[in-house]
């Protein structure tokens, strides 16, 4: 699994951080997403998939083989 974020789409809601805090964080100054783990461990996959789906700005995508 590979995670991609598009900063110019991110709205800073932090939904992804609430769901998968080990994979996503936000910048202190403007709340834009920070990708902590580009290739998350298997136990994170479900949470990451949910984060992708509920991101209110459709700023995260997931590449799964």
């Amino acid at each position: 699994m590979k995670v991609m974020v598009e900063e110019d789409k991110c709205c800073g809601a932090g939904t992804c951080v609430l769901i998968a805090p080990e994979v996503f964080d936000q910048r202190d100054e403007d709340g834009i997403v920070v990708l902590l783990e580009e290739a998350p461990a298997a136990d994170q996959h479900d949470a990451v998939r949910e984060a992708v789906s509920v991101c209110p700005a459709a700023a995260i995508s997931l590449i799964e083989p």
Binding site: D8, S61, I63, P65
Partner: protein, 403 residues
């Protein structure tokens, strides 16, 4: 020499399909000429066939992008498509470049191109159907020359037909330096990257018969598979290198043939001339774009002139293709010319990777138009044809035709 005496390059000619007078003059009198590029940077312009070929084939010299002292073609030539992200992902020089080139190049075989022909012909027919349905006069560039290459690239990437318009739009945004803002170019690039990343993942899961599927399972010289980043960048490279160039060449070729309609009639009478006509159109093209630069990092001699290390040489392939020393009747369009060792695709290690594809597309485009629209003619006078403003790729802004 003072700055005002240094001519600006590229030169422009009065008529859209005619070469600028400076080419012949420099070939005979000043084979290594000091010029100033659009960026303001100085360069040495080379116009003779032998010199252009020698420089382009010399493995010592590369583009020198980003090297201190290397001239930039335009002042925007810093973070654009040509020198930007793609250049950093795709290896540009040395062994890594050769390895990537071999891998992608393997796909562009004559046999492979032959297999693509029926599909290409069907696309050309489909575009002509739509153009005819809309009624003439039509702009052959917008209706035919521009979409055909992007459709072909989509096919090679295994992209479904329904997404062709998107690719067309992205390609247009990424390449056009003038019509779109930086922001629009950036969002097109971002959208394209996300699309391609997903597309590559789908292809990994369910490979097809396309180039991309083949590259996914292939390995480079070191036995390593290509990374997703390189695969996505290869898609960008195909669009950048293969869309606007081919689209313009199709348009210019048809313009040249219709400008003197006896040429068109001769082809109608003898369609076997299509192959040699395509080569001759490539050679004869007076709007081939600015040319190729090479950064010279050794002291060399060219046409008896010393070229010191640190010089940027601008190779004008289009000027070289009109060199009387290399081609008899160089200023005549000879549909039967053979052999035709023109330099339209460059020469050496960086010569156009997709030339077999471009040739096939040009042949299919011409064959199909001859078959479908034998009465095709210009809808305006030759003197009314206008060039596209822009540096990277030369072309006509429109080609109004009727049939």
């Amino acid at each position: 020499m003072t700055e005002t005496q240094i001519p600006s390059f590229p030169f422009t000619s009065k008529e859209a399909l005619e070469p600028p007078a400076e080419w012949a003059e420099l070939r005979s009198k000043c084979p290594v000429a000091h010029v100033r590029l659009a960026s303001g940077d100085p360069a040495s312009l080379v116009t003779r066939y032998d010199d252009v070929k020698a420089i382009l084939s010399d493995p010592r010299f590369g583009r020198g992008t980003g090297k201190k002292g290397a001239a930039r073609v335009a002042d925007t030539d810093d973070g654009g498509i040509m020198g930007g992200e793609m250049a950093t992902v795709l290896p540009q020089e040395g062994e890594a470049h050769l390895s990537w080139r071999r891998l992608v190049g393997k796909w562009f075989t004559a046999k492979r191109m032959g297999a693509l022909r029926p599909g290409m012909t069907a696309m050309a027919d489909q575009l002509i159907d739509a153009m005819v349905a809309d009624g003439g006069p039509a702009d052959l560039k917008a209706s035919f020359g521009f979409p055909l290459p992007v459709w072909v690239i989509c096919d090679m990437l295994g992209v479904p037909d329904s997404d062709r318009d998107k690719f067309s739009h992205w390609s247009d945004c990424m390449l056009s330096m003038t019509r779109y803002t930086q922001e629009e170019m950036a969002t097109a690039m971002a959208e394209f990257n996300v699309y391609m990343a997903h597309h590559v993942a789908l292809k990994r899961a369910a490979p097809g018969e396309d180039l991309l599927s083949e590259l996914i399972v292939a390995t480079d010289d070191g036995g390593e598979p290509l990374s997703d980043a390189v695969l996505v960048a290869t898609g960008v490279a195909l669009l950048v290198a293969g869309h606007e160039t081919t689209a313009n060449m199709i348009t210019k070729m048809i313009a040249m043939l219709l400008a003197d309609r006896t040429r068109w009639e001769r082809l109608l009478a003898d369609p076997k001339l299509v192959r040699s006509t395509v080569e001759e159109a490539l050679r004869f093209d007076a709007n081939a774009g600015v040319g190729m630069t090479r950064y010279i990092d050794a002291d060399i001699e060219l046409a008896g002139v010393a070229v010191p290390s640190g010089t940027t040489v601008m190779c004008s392939m289009a000027a070289a293709n009109r060199d009387e020393a290399a081609f008899a009747d160089a200023d005549e369009l000879v549909l039967t010319r053979s052999p035709n060792p023109h330099l339209a695709f460059g020469a050496g290690a960086h010569s156009c990777l997709g030339q077999a594809l471009a040739r096939t597309e040009l042949q299919v485009a011409l064959e199909t138009l001859l078959r479908r629209l034998p009465t095709l003619e210009l809808a305006v006078g030759v003197d009314e044809l206008e060039r596209v403003e822009g540096l990277a790729v030369g072309g006509l802004s429109k080609l109004p035709v009727q049939w």
